[in-house]
Amino acid sequence: MQAFTQLDGLVAPLDRANVDTDAIIPKQFLKSIKRAGFGPNLFDEWRYLDHGEPGMDNAKRPLNPAFVLNAPRYRGAEILLTRENFGCGSSREHAPWALEDYGFRALIGTTFADIFFNNCFKNGVLPIRLPQSEVDALFAQVAANEGYRLKIDLDAQTVARPDGKVLKFEVDAFRKYCLLNGFDDIGLTLRHADKIRAFEDKRRVEQPWLFA
């Protein structure tokens, strides 16, 4: 996994609540057996005027000019500003894959859906929860200032605004440690292989039907 330490990135605003994973990456693209290449189909139904299917040449498709990510001023954005309950719906990891493939490394919103939130950390994407008032202020500042950037520092757990204000955010210590170092969870977990084996052996005796 790609490590996440600091990011100085352009911000794009997606001013909608309850953005679900079907909207982030529609199901027809879940048929892929690969992990990469979902970026061009991120927010497919909002982003293009036609209906997208796997295998199409996305560069030739008509863009929806009304969709915010298509505005030239947000091209190359690495930070997505969102509203509450972003990522609700299915467990598809294709959602963070698509966001990451598109170029987003951090998301800022008030709340994120649980499974999606988890999936982000496994893919080097940092979801940041901030209070409603601060998210509202960020939306206002992004709208008012073309080329609006934020500086994110995971180690310090801060988001620095261009006007000098620094916002603190919370993150679980273990998740932070993994993300800062780009650690593979599986490798970390297998350090406890003896414990897992011991637990399993005990269980096998106590509840043999689980191992039938």
Binding site: D15, R16, A17, N18, D20, D22, A23, P26, K27, Q28, L30, K31, S32, I33, K34, R35, E45, H51, P54, G55, R83, E84, N85, C88, G89, S90, S91, R92, E93, P96, T111, A113, D114, I115, N118, N119, K122, N123, D172, A173, F174, R175, D185, I186, T189, L190, H192, A193, K195, I196, F199, E200, R203, Q207, P208, W209, L210, F211, A212
Partner: protein, 469 residues
Amino acid sequence: MSQTLYEKLWNSHVVHQEEDGTALIYIDRHLVHEVTSPQAFEGLKLAGRRPWRIGSVVATADHNTPTNNWDQGIADPVSRLQVETLDANIKAFGAKVYFPFRDARQGIVHVIGPENGATLPGMTVVCGDSHTSTHGAFACLAHGIGTSEVEHVLATQCLLQKKSKTMLVKVDGELARGVSAKDVVLAIIGRIGTAGGTGYAIEFGGSTIRAMSMEGRMTVCNMAIEAGARAGMVAVDDITLDYVKGRAFAPSGADWDKAVAYWRTLVSDEGAQFDTVVELDASKLKPQVTWGTSPEMVTTVDGEVPDPALESNLVRREGMERALAYMDLKPKTSMKAIKLDRVFIGSCTNSRIEDLRAAAEVVKGKKVAPTIRQALVVPGSGLVKAQAEREGLDRIFLDAGFEWREPGCSMCLAMNADRLEPGERCASTSNRNFEGRQGAGGRTHLVSPQMAAAAAITGYFSDVRDWLR
């Protein structure tokens, strides 16, 4: 100390705990399907890892599989490749059991687990699918997980988790005829909202839940995720044990007795404290119908489409306006005046034998309205289909003008050929009414099986309570 059911399940599965509370949780059952597993198996292969305990894996193909013309295979080459990739991965790595495409026991992953006794009380159950919460009906700790976690569980038999807060949703009172588990859970989501359960594990309790069959409890737990909760659960009682007994992978003989003695403890203790308690009076509940593009956008069948102008929260108001534009509905329209194009009875929410019996009770001797373009019944599994056919339910549906299909996810998410055309409106027994969920531009209204059946007959939403008096 008194413990909640969730705490008991959690404590009995912790292998290791980090300082910040992140724990390694041991996984008893791993359900696998074709959509969220290929990248996980590929990851294992690339890292040169072997599965930790392949005997925990129960696999099936369900999302992409067609529901008719099975003899012709899978027409869509992309879908076919995904299903064949699962075949190949199971062949290479193994499984406790695999129900491939066209197998007599193939079906939706959340239907086949319980019906084969592969889901047992006290288990941790995971699957790369958010509706894994369904299995909580058996007093399991059941989580939907992402593909990286699928790989993690394959490789380590564990999942990294933080303990959730606990919520008790207490539902009391007798349901009126024509009001079902689906209406209960839609009403709960309408009350607490789609993010209301975020960060919580929900236990469903109270006399209404206790009186429900396992099918009903599965319907309720299935949609816990639509309330934002990763897990939903119901305590063990006689109904649980009666359901499990004699299933293919359930214990028998001395093991059964030993298991039952343990399973009986899988209830929240008297006096156990929950972080939040929500109460619902089920005796006054009416059939529910969603009007928008989120399951919380729900009202009663005798209600009307709400008016965004009356919503004071700006973000919410815009959300409502966007939903109404997508759904092509005007504020204050009576729900009974909404005209439908298709009806879908199926999905892991409502495709079990009891759901089909309930729908057939309404359909029997009637005809699908001529204005309905398609009315589909898709059983949740091959076993459900066979059982329904033994009971003659297929004839009731076919005689009325429904199509009777092979099992699978089908029009719940339209990854196969079953889908809505742009602009079409559907009464659906599934769990998600998101934009494009049942086909790009399609409009979904979530309802119970009996409400879907009644809608098919009249072509409009109709109060099924009037039909069953």
